[in-house]
Subunit: 587 residues, 2 copies
Amino acid sequence: MIARLSTLFVRTLREDPSDAEVPSHRLLVRAGYIRRAAPGIYTWLPLGLRVLRKVEGIVREEMDAIGAQEVTFPALLPREPYEATGRWTEYGDGIFRLKDRKDADYLLGPTHEEMFTLLVKDLYSSYKDLPLSIYQIQNKYRDEARPRAGLLRGREFIMKDSYSFDVDDAGLDASYNAHRAAYINIFDRLGFEYAVVKATAGAMGGSKSEEFLAKAEVGEDTFVRCDNCDYAANVEAVQTRAPLAIDAAGLAAAEVVDTPGAETIEKLVAFLNAEQAQERIWTGADTLKTLLFTITHVDGTTEELGIGVPGDREVDGKRLEAYLGEGIEVQLFGAADFAKHPSLVKGYIGPKAIIAEGIRFLVDPRVVDGSAWVAGADDHGKHVVSLVAGRDFTPDGLIEVAEVRDGDGCPNCAEGALSTARGIEMGHIFQLGRKYAEALDLKVLDVNGKLVTVTMGSYGIGVTRAVAAIAEGTLDEIGLCWPRNVAPYDVHIVAAGKEAEIFEAAEALAKGLEAAGIDVLLDDRAGKISPGVKFKDAELIGVPTIVTVGRGLVDGTIDVKDRRTGEATAVAIADAVASITATVNSR
Amino acid sequence: MIARLSTLFVRTLREDPSDAEVPSHRLLVRAGYIRRAAPGIYTWLPLGLRVLRKVEGIVREEMDAIGAQEVTFPALLPREPYEATGRWTEYGDGIFRLKDRKDADYLLGPTHEEMFTLLVKDLYSSYKDLPLSIYQIQNKYRDEARPRAGLLRGREFIMKDSYSFDVDDAGLDASYNAHRAAYINIFDRLGFEYAVVKATAGAMGGSKSEEFLAKAEVGEDTFVRCDNCDYAANVEAVQTRAPLAIDAAGLAAAEVVDTPGAETIEKLVAFLNAEQAQERIWTGADTLKTLLFTITHVDGTTEELGIGVPGDREVDGKRLEAYLGEGIEVQLFGAADFAKHPSLVKGYIGPKAIIAEGIRFLVDPRVVDGSAWVAGADDHGKHVVSLVAGRDFTPDGLIEVAEVRDGDGCPNCAEGALSTARGIEMGHIFQLGRKYAEALDLKVLDVNGKLVTVTMGSYGIGVTRAVAAIAEGTLDEIGLCWPRNVAPYDVHIVAAGKEAEIFEAAEALAKGLEAAGIDVLLDDRAGKISPGVKFKDAELIGVPTIVTVGRGLVDGTIDVKDRRTGEATAVAIADAVASITATVNSR
């Protein structure tokens, strides 16, 4: 087909939109692919819709290829199923809720676990009906606190979500692996760099879980990879390589020392290095930093929690959130909290007082039994040196919330070092297990005629987000630069000049390519639009092959340029259709 | 492609769903095409989704063919544009409203006039950019008071809505006519009987307006057709063929007569025929029935309205609603209203007292100047005979709200008679004119460099509703019966028997047809499912061609049946692929 820029509903902009934080957002708006309708809510213009449909098509093909069957659920959903699983409350402010004219509660679906589970319960009753994988490509809604980065974090967006139903764990593994393989095909075909990383399951519950992250500086997710083995994980899911327990036998006794004014780790370390015997240099890693939080559960109940981490590491907010689970609020101790616990001396709090106060105290895995620490002595201006875990204090358990850093040891191969990178979450696959099936009572008869609870998997791809991620991963300093598989058109022909012959030749070439099955965007704009403006628009719009019909025409040639490399070749007009078709089909 | 019933996500039901009011709803649920998620809100199962996508495809092709360009707007929309045009209020309880976490108002879009207008304003600025037609196929939301009939009146549904933008009325006419032609193509291809009727524009404002109605007994719309010319109109839009004004010169003077107890039209007519000189037989059509209403406008202000219609006709609620406009409430006078007007004698109210009380009094077009009526005499137990319009009372104007009946005169040819029928509104095209462009300030520079307000058209098709309307118009007593163009599959093969050869032959035939580009639904269910059950399912599901591979196999034949006519032919297995392919492609 041929689309003509003289009539195509598009306007390219010279100026960046004021609310665009990331390059893909800026360029998708400037090149006329999308338009903001409200914060985090976008309209798709014809160019954008073509890319979106191609991404959807690739996702659909690969889902169909593993035997998943397409359905479509409504976006407007009744409250009851989400109440049954607790998600109506857990989502907090994160979902859009509304009432109908009869005052019944509804929500705009954030994901559809409940609805899929109930549908299968409604239709199926026997192990013979399983395994089953069903999916939809459909509008989702989340009331994000900070919708940002255009399509990367929207409030209305398209997701492919699929769900697998199996009678046993082996079946779930097979369904999970089929989806994993399909996702690899999808992301390979979409044409951007990505990593598959271990993930936490978050609000979804469940066990095995991996994320597909597009590598991107603007990503909101941090992930790590090992330089020695194939370990990769979302930072929330990283397990610390903890040292082995140490025999405390030969260690010095704990000793309280005066550390006047050493209320921060930095001051404490400086003080120790200045005052203590100099056979060692003290660092933050020798100190135990304690933090106290008030946690509010989704049911409104509160709990106090103490956390101990090596003094050279911060508590990572995202890791803490992932540890606690969705919807749980966390607040550092304030004056009122300290007032309830007079034995806690701010700036000098140690494990002993926390434990004595009956506050649950969890420590970083590095705080193994036998490890010795400098910690607060629970007395103003004093710390305790050689405070040994397991000997001088016993924490209530471990917690994985300390920040992960480049160079940290790999928990998998125990030899490699981790490096961190940023990414955009493009897909998430996880084994839900029986959580939803139990909550909604989805059982089938097994081979022995006994009712068994079905085990489920849940698999999502951000489809609108993928458009932005592909744009982000492929753009350059002059504009968008689409991979062939998702480009809105195959070829962009620029009629460069004012002469009628140029327009006629461009039109004839477009028709020749159309007849060869090539989708053409033809810049046939007449009037005052200069060739320079047309070239700039072509670069901005980012169709992979740009053909110029212009001055070369007198010599019987046109100019064929690769948008990515910028390499241009003069091609005889007689060979143009064959040559360009070959280029397009070589992909 | 081949879909296999052994794995297809579908369950046919023997029982009708309890909430299904119309045959199409009953069968679409029983045959496993859709499933209710909430009142008026449906999930599309694989079979239904295939039909839906085919309908969408036909709509898209015909819209593209007239140069309309596809975009997609969000469903979740900000309040402000709808506030600017007044629709935020006018829709009353009919739209879903919600707030986001920042307490900003949103709605789920019922139609997108405002958003399209603002988008064009955002991108375009010159007459050179026009004409433009843009469309979307997208989820719409209306909080219907009585969601009924399955997909025929849903609360979440898919519409194709398009909008045209022109600089002048001639342009609007051309855009309107292009859409009208496209709609005729679409409804012809969808394969059901329909009528194109004149319509009122309802809440959309504007002038020229036509509806495409699928003929169906279960339809909520009534329309009329002339038996002499091509006039057809929605009942709300019917103009009464009014008689010419009569010269009042020779008419008798108005005379008050005692009509004790004649508080209804029937009693009055009986009384007149018993008491008056018998040179004529009085009927209800000789009497003038007066009705008094309190009208509440969308801004909350109220108004009193008197209506006079011939006594043999009711006021049609839908025609009154269409006359008053969307969101306006209307209530018959109650005791409190009469208390405000002591001169109005209930049961004996005549035009004179209504007019004397200062209440606006509108009459049916049959009440022409010079026509004589029996009306209430504004005195208990009395009527006035030979009360002549224009002589004895002067109404404030005309109103088209009297019921329309079979046999009423055609307003177009003035010779034919109207007959009424019921239909389902499938499409609505109308000339909005400048209402939205003015409200949202959409102007472009004209050829003289002067700013002019753009004129718009609005064109809708109920896509999910079309699926139900097609089903409704084509089903028979044994099940659904799809037209070829929208059938979920081309051929339904039943493997009828237990022998392995039968399953092998059925599978081989399916593969042969697949290779010929035919979409096959193969009933390969083994086990206890009898051929009888399989045939019943095939009839219920309604694929146009049903092929049985069974007993005939020993003679080298299969059975090819037309689902609609029931005609069956034995076909040699060797010729089966060619023969069935020819049948499918003959359409």
